[in-house]
C-alpha cells in the first residue's frame, strides 16, 4: 500500500544516484559479494545473543527472550540535517518541561485558554499529587526519546515525545559497538559522531539534579521491575555503564523520609533514582496499593526533597496523545518562538468534527489509542482489511475520546538487507535527550526499521528491526 505512494529514499535521489551523505557507503556496498551482508548479519546475531542483548515479548511463552533483528546497513544523517534536528529537539524538550512546571503550579496555559482545562485535569496521566511541588532545577523529564519521521529532503515530523521512561538507548550503543566490529573500514572513511559518551552524560545529568548537588559523591541507582521486564537488558546495561547499582523495589526502603538501599552492610542513602518503572508502581502508599514493585513511602521522601526521581512522576502528561496536538502551541507559549520541528497533523476524536472526518476516512489514516504504546491498539487504514476497519469503526464510535488520528505518513526509507539483497525499507528515528544542568542530545539515536516490504510499523514488538544511526561530522 504505502509502497504505491511515493516515499523519500534517504540513500538514492530521483535519478537513482546516491545522495551526498551516502556516497561512500553506496560505492562500498556495490562491490560486495552477494552473501556478504548475510554473513555479517549472522555474525551480528551471534554477538547480540552472546551478550544477552534481548528483549522480552509479553504473551509469547516460547520466545520470552528474543533478539531485535539488526540490520547491518547504517542509516546516515548529514551534519547540517542533524543541526536542524537537534535545535528542534532542544526547543521542544525545554518547552515540555516548562509546560509541566506550569500545569503542576499556576496553570497559566489553562488560564490563557490555550489548552482546555479538562484535557489536563481529567487526564489520567495528570498527577494531582505533583501539584505545588518543584523538582530540582525545575526539570521533570530528564530523559526523553523524541520519535521522528522523515517525509522528504527537509521535512521531519515529531511523532511522539516519550517523556516517561523511553527505552532503546542501549541498542543505540550496542548497535554502534557491533558495527565497529563488523565494518571497521567504514569508520575510517566516515567521520561518524560518537555515541559512547551517553552513559557518562546520563550520570552527569542525574548528578546535576540531586537534592543536594554540592555533595561530593551522589548515590545514584537504576530502579528496574526485574529480570522479566522487556527492557531488563537495558536497565542492567545503563547501571553497569554508569557504574551504579541496579535495584529492584525490594532493595529500597524509606526511613524517616529518606530512601535507603539494603546492602550487605549498613543501609546506604540514595540521592537519585533513575526509575524504569511506571508511575503507578513507584509507591504503593501513594499510587497502586497492589503494586509489588514499588517502595512504600517513596513519594513522601520525594516530596520532602530527600531524593530525586527521574523522570519525575507525572511526566506522562507531556506525551499523552491527547496533549500531543497542542505541543506546537505549548512551544510558542513558553518559548515565544515558532516550532522548529513540525507535529503530524492530528485529529482529536473527542471533537465531533474531527471524529466525523476520521470515520469518513478510516481507509486512509492511522488511528491510535490515546494511552496506547508499542504499536498495540492502533489501526493503519491503508494496510487494514475491510473487516478490521469495520470492527475498529465500532470501537471508535463507542469510545471516541480514547482515540486520535493522523494521516498515513509516507515514512522515508533506507537501504536495508533483505532476502533478495538490498532494498528500501521504512524507518523512524528516536534520538535520546538528557535534560539536567544542560540539554544534551547524543548525535544519532535509534533507527527502527519496518523489515516487511511496504510496512510502516517499526515497533520491535511488531517485527521491526534496528539500524545503527550515523551522524556525520563536518
Amino acid at each position: 500500500m504505502a509502497d504505491d505512494r511515493t516515499f523519500f529514499n534517504e540513500m538514492l535521489d530521483d535519478a537513482g544516484g546516491p545522495r551526498s551523505p551516502y556516497s561512500r557507503l553506496a560505492t562500498w556496498l556495490e562491490d560486495k559479494p552477494a552473501n556478504f551482508l548475510t554473513k555479517k548479519s549472522r555474525d551480528a546475531e551471534t554477538i547480540f545473543r552472546r551478550l544477552g542483548i534481548t528483549f522480552a515479548v509479553y504473551g509469547a511463552e516460547e520466545a520470552t527472550e528474543r533478539l531485535i533483528p539488526f540490520d547491518p546497513i547504517p542509516r546516515i544523517i548529514s551534519a547540517s540535517e542533524w543541526r536542524k534536528l537537534s535545535a528542534g529537539i532542544d526547543q521542544r524538550v525545554r518547552a515540555l518541561n516548562a509546560f509541566m512546571h506550569d500545569i503542576y503550579h499556576r496553570q497559566e496555559i489553562l488560564r490563557a485558554g490555550i489548552i482546555p482545562a479538562d484535557l489536563i485535569l481529567q487526564n489520567e496521566a495528570f498527577l494531582p499529587e505533583m501539584a505545588g511541588f518543584t523538582p530540582a532545577r525545575k526539570v521533570y523529564a530528564h530523559i526523553i526519546g523524541t520519535d521522528l519521521v522523515r517525509v522528504s529532503e527537509n521535512e521531519f515530523y515529531v511523532l511522539e515525545d516519550n517523556t516517561r521512561t523511553p527505552s532503546g538507548v542501549s541498542y543505540m550503543m550496542e548497535n554502534r559497538e557491533t558495527m565497529m566490529r563488523l565494518f571497521p573500514e567504514l569508520f575510517q572513511t566516515h567521520a561518524v559522531a560518537p555515541v559512547e559518551q551517553y552513559p557518562e552524560l546520563l550520570r552527569r545529568t542525574l548528578e546535576s539534579v540531586a537534592p543536594d548537588p554540592s555533595k561530593s559523591a551522589q548515590t545514584i541507582v537504576v530502579l528496574t521491575p526485574g529480570i522479566y521486564n522487556s527492557a531488563y537488558f537495558e536497565h542492567a546495561f545503563l547501571a553497569d555503564s554508569m557504574g551504579v547499582e541496579l535495584v529492584e523495589g525490594r532493595d529500597l526502603f524509606v526511613d524517616a523520609g529518606k530512601v535507603f538501599m539494603r546492602t550487605t552492610r549498613e543501609p546506604e542513602q540514595v540521592d537519585v533514582i533513575y526509575r524504569r518503572i511506571d508511575d503507578a508502581f513507584l509507591d504503593p502508599l501513594t499510587f497502586n496499593a497492589d503494586s509489588m514493585l514499588g517502595v512504600p513511602g517513596l513519594f513522601d521522601a520525594y516530596r520532602a526533597g530527600n531524593v530525586t526521581i527521574c523522570n519525575a512522576p507525572g511526566t506522562g502528561i507531556a506525551d499523552d496523545k491527547a496533549i500531543y496536538a497542542y505541543v506546537p502551541d505549548i512551544i510558542e507559549f513558553y518559548t515565544g518562538q515558532k516550532p522548529i520541528l513540525n507535529n503530524v497533523p492530528t485529529w482529536n476524536c473527542s471533537r465531533a468534527d474531527d471524529l466525523a472526518y476520521v470515520l469518513d476516512n478510516l481507509e486512509d489514516i492511522v488511528v491510535k489509542e490515546v494511552h496506547g504504546s508499542g504499536g498495540y491498539g492502533m489501526l493503519i487504514g491503508p494496510t487494514a482489511s475491510k473487516r478490521e476497519i469495520a470492527e475498529f469503526r465500532k470501537v471508535l464510535e463507542a469510545t471516541p475520546s480514547n482515540y486520535i488520528a493522523q494521516p498515513t505518513l509516507a515514512l522515508s526509507a533506507c537501504p536495508t538487507h533483505v532476502a533478495s539483497g538490498v532494498a528500501p525499507r521504512h524507518v523512524d528515528l528516536r534520538p535520546f535527550v538528557l535534560i539536567g544542568d544542560q540539554v544534551r542530545i547524543t548525535p544519532g539515536g535509534l533507527t527502527r526499521v519496518a523489515l516487511k516490504k511496504g510496512s510502516l510499523v517499526v515497533n520491535s514488538s511488531q517485527g521491526g528491526g534496528t539500524k545503527d544511526t550515523w551522524v556525520l561530522e563536518d
Binding site: L51, G52, F233, F237, A239, L246, R262, R265
Partner: protein
C-alpha cells in the same frame, strides 16, 4: 553491594556447581550401564545416581521404568526435577542476569552461552551413544564458568560470595554422596571380601567426585579401601572435593570477607570452627562416633553456615 546482589552471586555459583555434580552422577550411571558386573543389574548403578542427587522419589513418581534413557532425560532435561541440569543452569543464569552489573563480560558470556547452547539441544538426540560427549560438554562448560570466575573477577565481596556458593554446594554434594552410601564405607565391609558389590560403590563414589585417579596418587600403595576412601573424601585437604578442602576455602573466604568489610560476623567464627574440627579430626574417631551420624551432622552444619552467611550479609 546490595544484599540481593550478594545472594544472587552466591546462588549463581551454587547452581553451577550443582549442575556439574549431577552431570557427573549421570556419568557414573552411564558407565554402570555399559560395564556389566558379575550378575549385577544395571538398576544398582542407576539408583546410585538418583539417591545421590536426592531425586529418587520424584523419579519414581514420574516413571515406571528405570532405564538409562529415562534417567538421562530426568537428570539432564526435565523441568519437573528440581535438581536437573537444565533447572540448575536456568537458575544459575537467572541469578547471573539479576547481577549483570556485578559480573564480568567474560563470566556472563560463559554462563549465557552455556544456557543458549543447552536449550538448543533436542533431548531426543541425546542417545546412549551421544551421552558421554554431552556430559563431557556440560562438565567443560562448568569448568569454563569457574575459569572465567577465577581469572576475570575482581577480588572483592562479589567474588567472595561467589566462592562461598561454590564450596557450600560442593561440601553438601560430597557429604550427601558419602552419606547415601555410608554403609559401603564402613570399615567392616573391608573384611567381607566378596568383591564386586562394595568395590563398585567405591569406584562409583570416587568417580562421582572426580577422585578416581587422584586417589591413586594420594594412596600410592593401597588398593581401594573403605577407610582410605572415606578419609580421602572427608579429611584430606589436597582433595578438591573433600569436606576439609571445601571448609579451608570457606574459612579463608570468610576471613577475606571480614577483612573486606572490616567486621567480624558470626559466620566467620562458624566457618573457622568447622574447618578447625575437620583438620583436627582422625578418621578413626569418625568411625567410632558413627560415620552416618558424622555426615548427617556435617550436612546440617553446612546448611546452618549458609543460613548464617545470608543473615550476616542481608541476602534477600
Amino acid at each position: 553491594m546490595l544484599g540481593r546482589t550478594a545472594s544472587s552471586l552466591f546462588w549463581m555459583s551454587r547452581y553451577h556447581e550443582r549442575a556439574q555434580n549431577v552431570a557427573r552422577l549421570l556419568e557414573v550411571a552411564y558407565r554402570g550401564a555399559i560395564i556389566s558386573h558379575r550378575g549385577q543389574e544395571h538398576g544398582t548403578h542407576w539408583t546410585f545416581a538418583l539417591t545421590c542427587s536426592g531425586c529418587e522419589a520424584e523419579f519414581s513418581e514420574k516413571y515406571d521404568e528405570l532405564g538409562i534413557r529415562n534417567l538421562a532425560f530426568f537428570l539432564l532435561f526435565s523441568k519437573e526435577n528440581s535438581v536437573s541440569v537444565r533447572n540448575s543452569l536456568e537458575l544459575a543464569r537467572n541469578n547471573a542476569r539479576a547481577v549483570r552489573t556485578g559480573i564480568t563480560a567474560e563470566l556472563w558470556e560463559a554462563i549465557n552461552t552455556t544456557w543458549i547452547e543447552f536449550t538448543e539441544v533436542n533431548p531426543q538426540t541425546i542417545t546412549q551413544e551421544r551421552l558421554p560427549d554431552f556430559l563431557a560438554w556440560v562438565n567443560q562448560r562448568a569448568h569454563l564458568f569457574r575459569g572465567a570466575l577465577l581469572n576475570t573477577v575482581l577480588r572483592n565481596d562479589g567474588y567472595f560470595f561467589s566462592q562461598m556458593g561454590n564450596f557450600v554446594e560442593r561440601a553438601d554434594n560430597t557429604a550427601r554422596i558419602l552419606n547415601t552410601q555410608y554403609w559401603s564405607l564402613l570399615p567392616d565391609s573391608d573384611i567381607l571380601d566378596d568383591g564386586s558389590m562394595e568395590k563398585y560403590q567405591w569406584s562409583a563414589i570416587l568417580r562421582a567426585l572426580s577422585g578416581r585417579r587422584s586417589y591413586r596418587f594420594a594412596y600410592p600403595n593401597a588398593r581401594l579401601k573403605a577407610f582410605n576412601i572415606a578419609e580421602f573424601l572427608i579429611l584430606r585437604k589436597e582433595m578438591p572435593r573433600s569436606l576439609a578442602h571445601c571448609y579451608n576455602w570457606i574459612a579463608d573466604t570468610a576471613e577475606d570477607l571480614s577483612q573486606f568489610y572490616s567486621s567480624q560476623e558470626p559466620s566467620l567464627a562458624m566457618a573457622k570452627e568447622i574447618a578447625k574440627s575437620l583438620s583436627e579430626k582422625q578418621m578413626r574417631e569418625i568411625y567410632q562416633d558413627g560415620l552416618h551420624e558424622f555426615l548427617s551432622d556435617f550436612i546440617g552444619r553446612n546448611n546452618q553456615f549458609a543460613f548464617e552467611l545470608s543473615k550476616d550479609y542481608n541476602f534477600s
